[in-house]
């Protein structure tokens, strides 16, 4: 069925509960008696849900969507499905860690294979067993050092460029009120440092998970620690500014309990504006 723009707009008003009483009956009757029109309504519902998830509805449509359209449990389930469906089809761009180039074996390399290993000339012992033990110890030290460096990098999470600090309180806007934290990141910022106000300070480590407007995970770190900021307990999460384009975000904080389980503590909602 091909509906023109005016009919589509009428359907949208119908679904948002804004159609005048006089026009309702005709649509109701057609919905029940015409199978193609019924399917058109279902498609219009999906499209409305997608517009809501993609933040393409204006304030008034959004309000009607939440307060009228979502009143039925079936549509609420449809919204949850669509949210997952969209993030499944459009996963966030992953952070790419450079991989070493695959090894290409040349003729020269092949000749070298028969030569004794280079490190043997540095080793004080000629016994292969002892030599390999020494090499293993060296490798272990290098791995441990790298792990410590990586862990420290993760903890710091600092990108090149200036650091911009934003303080967040748990919660955010809700139906019953609440103030939305709006953040403008100055141009050229490398890292945004979020100071998360925490009430529960009895955890050794904290996990932060940043979720975008579509529900997709954008960033996470399991090694966040508690700090003191002017007498207030805060957990600091440093997130590359390039991962934070304008939009709505939720930062979920959980605390680690033995043995390595995380308990949900708080969610911090904010909006990045350009």
């Amino acid at each position: 069925m091909n509906l023109n723009t005016e009919q589509q707009s009428k359907l949208k008003d119908y679904l948002l509960g804004r159609l005048p009483e006089a026009e309702l009956e005709a649509i109701d009757e057609r919905l029940v008696t015409d199978g193609d029109f019924y399917e058109e309504i279902l498609i219009a519902e999906d499209e409305l849900i997608d517009q809501y998830l993609n933040k393409e509805l204006n304030e008034s449509d959004r309000k009607s969507f939440e307060e009228f359209f979502l009143i039925s449990p079936e549509r609420r389930a449809k919204l949850q499905f669509s949210d997952s469906f969209m993030s499944y089809l459009n996963p966030p761009v992953p952070v790419i860690h450079p991989e070493p180039d695959p090894v290409r074996v040349t003729d020269q390399d092949k000749k070298a294979i028969d030569r004794p290993p280079w490190y043997q000339s540095f080793l004080p012992v000629k016994s292969p067993a002892l030599a390999y033990s020494l090499m293993s110890a060296v490798v272990l030290l290098v791995v441990a050092g790298s792990w410590l460096a990586w862990s420290s990098y993760q903890q710091r999470g600092v990108e090149a460029g200036p650091v911009y600090t934003a303080e967040l309180l748990p919660g955010g806007p809700s139906r019953s009120g609440g103030v939305e934290k709006k953040i403008t990141i100055p141009p050229g910022t490398g890292t945004v440092e979020f100071k998360l106000d925490v009430k529960d300070d009895g955890y050794g480590l904290y996990r932060g998970v940043l979720i975008g407007g579509t529900g997709a995970e954008i960033w996470h770190n399991d090694n966040l620690q508690l700090s003191d900021s002017a007498g207030t307990k805060v957990v600091i999460a440093r997130i590359p500014a390039k991962s934070l384009p304008p939009g709505d975000y939720r930062l979920r904080l959980s605390g680690q309990t033995p043995p390595k389980q995380f308990e949900d503590l708080a969610t911090y909602s904010f909006r990045i504006i350009s």
Binding site: V32, Y38, I43, R76, G215
Partner: protein, 185 residues
């Protein structure tokens, strides 16, 4: 509804073909539910059941009814809906619940179900879904146009095709979630 009443109702919907009658019943019920929902009724399924109860109670008088069944069901449904509105006006006003926000485990399970359900689709369906629901606006318009040309169909036919695949996926995911212990709706 009692078994006997249901049989009488099905016979009224189509006296020659019981299977066809059962399909008609399901179709009318689904459409009535949608109508009630779209009018802001949060007990749409109950109101649909009441509509069929009302129709069943009048079956004796309907034996000579010649017209198609859907318009009659609609008019009874419209009446039952009006009664429902009058009834809820007397109840204390309920605030609508906030938009749903599922927990991590549930989201992960839904993604696993989507994965499972997607793999059951043909590669053509997978291509349609992946290209049709791209998020980036310009790319979305271009890829929909390309896709419609590829299948030799209009953009609207493509829209319906994508919707039907998505609806099947949704049904499959809901089934999968229920199998894994989650309530739907």
């Amino acid at each position: 509804m009692k078994d006997n009443d249901l049989e009488r109702l099905l016979a009224w919907l189509n006296k020659d073909d019981r299977e066809q009658a059962a399909r008609s019943y399901e179709n009318i019920r689904r459409r009535l539910i949608r109508m009630f929902m779209s009018r802001g009724c949060y007990e749409a399924e109950d109101v649909a059941d009441k509509t069929f109860d009302r129709i069943t109670s009048k079956l004796d008088q309907l034996q000579n009814y010649e017209g198609t069944r859907e318009p009659y069901c609609y008019s009874v449904g419209a009446l039952v809906l009006k009664e429902w509105f009058r009834h809820i006006d007397k109840r204390p006003k309920q605030l609508p619940p906030p938009p749903p926000d599922s927990d991590w485990k549930e989201r992960e399970q839904r993604h696993a179900c989507l994965d499972e359900c997607m793999k059951k689709r043909t590669s053509e369906d997978q291509t349609v879904i992946l290209e049709y629901y791209q998020q980036e606006k310009r790319a979305k318009i271009d890829s929909r146009q390309r896709l419609a040309e590829k299948y030799g169909i209009s953009l609207n036919a493509l829209r319906i095709k994508a919707f039907r695949i998505r609806a099947t996926l949704q049904e499959c995911v809901f089934e999968c979630m229920k199998r894994n212990g989650y309530e739907i709706g």
